[in-house]
């Protein structure tokens, strides 16, 4: 038992550095997905047939493939083909981000469509353009409604970050494996790894819960 604890103690700094990488992956991918997902959702709801067609195709593609396949396809295939010399870390953020955009756009689209049609009508009736209405009236409400779904996406991305082990990103799982194979003590190491992931997942979800409460519209959804 002492040897197990010693191994955990000694490798902890090394694993924690992996947490920085993991969080970097998750924030980068979530951020990219967010920045792309919103215009995609708006395009699908308010755009013409061509625009929403292109977006639907994009979503279909990135939702249809396993993360691992996408990672290999892009990192070993497409990026080299196009001459991009990206590190595994950067490539992983890109691929996970592009994929997250597909999922996030559907979360946002659902929220936008759940709003009463009257919101857009009222906004236009006072002379707002479609864009002004979307920016000032639709999105502020839709984004608040999207927080639960987005919390889900965070949890999923956190888990997917471990898959980047396969292209050599030095995140938590990769490091855990590194230590486990060298110390021949898989149990304590992978258990520590598991604990780290659980803490990160639920820590993040809790933060998003707090955010949801903070931006909640007073009186919304309550019985009058």
């Amino acid at each position: 038992m002492n040897e197990n604890l010693a191994v955990i103690y000694q490798s902890f700094p090394f694993l924690i550095n992996g947490v920085m990488i993991t969080l970097g992956l998750v924030t980068g991918a979530l951020g990219l997905g967010f920045v792309m997902g919103i215009p995609m959702a708006v395009g699908q709801v308010y755009g013409n047939k061509t625009i929403s067609g292109i977006i639907s195709f994009y979503v279909w593609f990135f939702r249809g493939l396993p993360v691992l396949v996408l990672l290999f396809l892009f990192y070993f295939g497409l990026f080299s083909l196009l001459g991009f010399n990206l590190s595994a870390f950067t490539a992983a953020i890109l691929v996970l981000g592009l994929r997250s955009a597909a999922y996030q756009s559907q979360i946002f689209r659902g929220s936008i469509q759940s709003l009463n049609e009257g919101q857009m009508l009222a906004a236009r009736s006072i002379g707002m353009t479609k864009v002004e209405a979307i920016w000032h009236i639709i999105l502020p409400q839709a984004l608040r409604l999207s927080i639960p779904g987005w919390s889900n996406e965070y949890a999923i991305l956190l888990k997917d970050s471990a898959v980047t082990y396969a292209i050599g990103v030095m995140e938590v799982l990769t490091r855990a494996n590194f230590v486990a194979t060298r110390t021949y003590r898989p149990m304590p190491i992978f258990l520590t790894c598991a604990v780290i992931f659980i803490v990160l997942t639920y820590g993040g979800v809790k933060l998003l819960d707090i955010l949801e409460t903070k931006v909640k519209i007073p009186g919304y959804g309550e019985e009058r």
Partner: protein
Amino acid sequence: MVLHVENIHKSYGKEKILKGVSFKIKKGETKVIIGPSGSGKSTLLRCINQLTIPDQGTVFLEGEEVTHHQKEINRFRQKMGMVFQDFNLFDHLTALKNVEIGLIRVKKMDKIAARKKALEELSQVGLEKQGDFYPAQLSGGQKQRVSIARALAMDPKVILFDEPTSALDPELIGEVLEVIKKLALGGMTMVVVTHEMGFARSVANEIIFMEDGIIKDQGTPYKMFNNPEHERTRKFLYKITELYGKSEE
């Protein structure tokens, strides 16, 4: 002539909702449109401010054509206020911000001037103390009054009311009708679709009876209630008055 609506036709798929509706309204007039459900009253209002684009026909606001000028529609809509049956307040904004937002974002007023004007409009509808409440915290009557303030803030040339009290509890109808009456007496040009006969009788310059997508009868309240041209009009008014009671004289 503030509003000139000419020969509006509108179909949804195979169903023809409006079959050639025309009317005019002068500054300061209040015209009340009545009629059974499905007669096209709401569709007509939406064809006026182009929230629904008519298949045929024209709308002129103060002599300028609104139809066929989609590029300038936002400018026209600033001059045509609309009050909806379901209020359609912006749920994420306080009552005050609901009234302000058009002034700040559409009219590009500076924030201080906008706030001042918004407070004035809320006072006009009796809600100056409720400015910081969110729509979900307000009663139906209060919500509708905020939405009237929101429409008023834009200084419209005409306000279109689409069954403004139909979604309200009976006890709350009075406070909204009071506000609308006050506007009428103050000289606002208004087109009101409603079932409130007492209100129509006391406030309207003209009552327009619509059925099956056309105007079947129109005239002053006195004429419509006592001496309409069609028996159908008399029957309808009688039935509605019976149902809704004479809420005002």
